[in-house]
Symmetry: D3
Subunit: 159 residues, 6 copies
């Protein structure tokens, strides 16, 4: 494990880490997250879940688009050409939650964890936006990286 923060140089300046000398390798990252809500809100989402215009479908698309905006949002992220973004949502009616999984891929000099995490975050925010008229007490939670491969740091998996 590194013993210092990679984005701050010796003089205390924020830097976009210099990846010029790195080689292009295949990269994958998977992130997860969850929106907790009332039973009533979960029921409303479920009612719409198989029709067009459903909450989960709209949030899913927002997540895909959000992944592409990552370098615009996260100051020290490198711009990189995503080759795949996949976002899935599942309504867990037993726990009154929407579970979100985002998988991003690229062939490049740096990883795509931030892209996957951003996709999950924007997806979750969009679920919130669409349900907030009926439920202001929702909670976005447990956003984390569960899988990362490619590059020098190798494979990382978590739950």
């Amino acid at each position: 494990m590194a013993d210092k923060l990679s984005h701050i140089d010796a003089a205390g300046n924020a830097v976009m880490v210099d990846i010029s000398a790195k080689s292009d390798t295949a990269r994958i990252a998977v992130a997860k997250g969850r929106v907790l809500m009332s039973a009533e809100t979960a029921r409303l989402i479920a009612e719409h879940g198989h029709k067009k215009g459903d909450v989960l479908g709209i949030a899913q698309l927002a997540g895909v688009m959000g992944a592409k905006k990552t370098p615009d949002l996260i100051p020290l992220c490198h711009p990189l050409p995503l080759t795949s973004v996949e976002v899935t949502l599942e309504l867990a009616t037993d726990t009154d939650a929407v579970d979100i999984v985002a998988t991003c891929k690229t062939t490049g000099k740096t990883g795509v964890e931030m892209e996957a995490l951003t996709a999950v975050s924007i997806t979750a925010l969009t679920v919130f936006d669409m349900c907030k008229a009926v439920d202001k007490s929702m909670r976005i939670t447990d956003i984390r990286v569960v899988h990362k491969e490619g590059g020098k740091s190798g494979l990382f998996t978590a739950d």
Copy 2:
């Protein structure tokens, strides 16, 4: 409480809710969130906390800028002229967490919860980005609205 989702019309189309007939009133929303991390990561952030270029300062600025991008990120959010965005971060060394609070204000026809929640989310993602070289197991959690005032729906507070 409303009994249906506001962003989907009778035909199943996603709609940006028509707020044309609403009057302009002062609006405030406060959102909170938290990034959980290892003790070691919290220690590294603390070491840099009073110097320029620190993690918290960079994440804070990203959050302010993120609030302004809300209508670009959340498909059915209305564009609105924010009159104030304030983001604060606090390192809770006892619990190894960074606590984030974002307050947004506008004078307009609709609320600014999504702006405050987006500010918190982008702030949290930026903390993650800056620390991920030392800690891939961080977790962004408990993003929620804690205060909302202005508009017809009146005051909402939570913890």
Copy 3:
């Protein structure tokens, strides 16, 4: 009818027309357009039309988001706070076409025709994108303003 182009001044400079002295009035604009396609493509869209993740639902959301980007895309358009964006798509199976209608509203100093036209255009492009693997000969056509009200120039309607 004006006898000169409003966006070019006497010296030949492109200008964003000065609307500072105009008063804020309610504005509405409706634009329409159409994507022509093969019978086979229309059939594929129809098959997915009532499920989540359908072509028309995705294109519809893209159109709503596109409307918000108008001042970013059209050089001399004023930024303005849209209070409503509504996009509807209908698959006309008899003519193998997708018909698109976009309605935009604001209270402001200038009209929202460009926002409605941009919504229709981005919607149509998204239909094209999603079907181009099966049909490269689609054609986006008949994009025009059919209704405009508010402001000094008054009511305009067309078919």
Copy 4:
């Protein structure tokens, strides 16, 4: 020809198609479109056509910039580094129309039809914006791909 829509997976989720395994090849796409207008509007454009600040020059630049925004506008488009964008406009005074041609190139894993079509669309919208004070009945029409080469699907040409 494919028998299904490429952007929707088996579960009905919208996906950015996974192009990770594709090789980088030279790609070209050409799209065309047209803006129909009154004889009077065509005359006004012609009068300005050889001076600086002309309608066609401004619309052309908007089209070039628009091509670069394609992945921001079309939800499931991949971001890719365009190596060339060329937009030309011609005023067809006999038919009172502006004819638009856009050519985009890249070396990448996917084609650039959407970039060329977006360039044509934004160019056409900008012509509309600059002339709408004198002519609200313009019509943007016949936007289509006329040439595509590179990649596995090979050469496509149309008129």
Copy 5:
């Protein structure tokens, strides 16, 4: 004159200044700047100066569009609806320079100096971009505010 920096609060946090309580007033700001170049470069610009597609016309349009991006670029700037943006360029052949003037207006709670300065900066950068193949030694210089009116701080003029 204020005796402290307005964008940093007592705790050292960067803040978007809270303008919620300010009233909407008419605001104007004018900024100027200059691009110094070789005599040869100035001659090349002059040769194209009265034709379409000229350097100055393209840079002018980039400046107008740049003004609209100000809140996206300057972290603590408020988003505001510009009601007028005017950019003019003049080739000073005696001094081998391009002189740029940008005027921005709004009716709002805060001034538009940053919008005018951003317009000048993006205009200057675009002149540089278009001439850099023939002249890498250009210099962008003397960007400043020359006029500001509206709001509590009153009239400011400079040269």
Copy 6:
């Protein structure tokens, strides 16, 4: 040295230069610039210079983010994946100026001077924004390229 402007074709159209046939090489560009201010303003910046939330740290981050927006801002710039952006600021208390240096790198088909120049410009504008409440007479000056390497045109250095 070229004898014509590269971004305008024979017919007077603005073009994004076709770089399709160029090979990918390592590219570096360094740009510099300066913000002149009153002695009092320089003193205020210095007072905050070693704390978090300082003017220079915020401006530095804005510059890094600005570099990534270059193709969005400069009409005929190619989009390219920056592999490094570094911005440093130094307060020259003897001359009451902030000196800015930006270094950009990529591996690509075209140079990154415009990215470095844009980083300097946005950094300078952000310094201006944060100090304008105390000093409206600041001046952004001497923005230029001081180093460029990579690509066919070879090494360029200046002061």
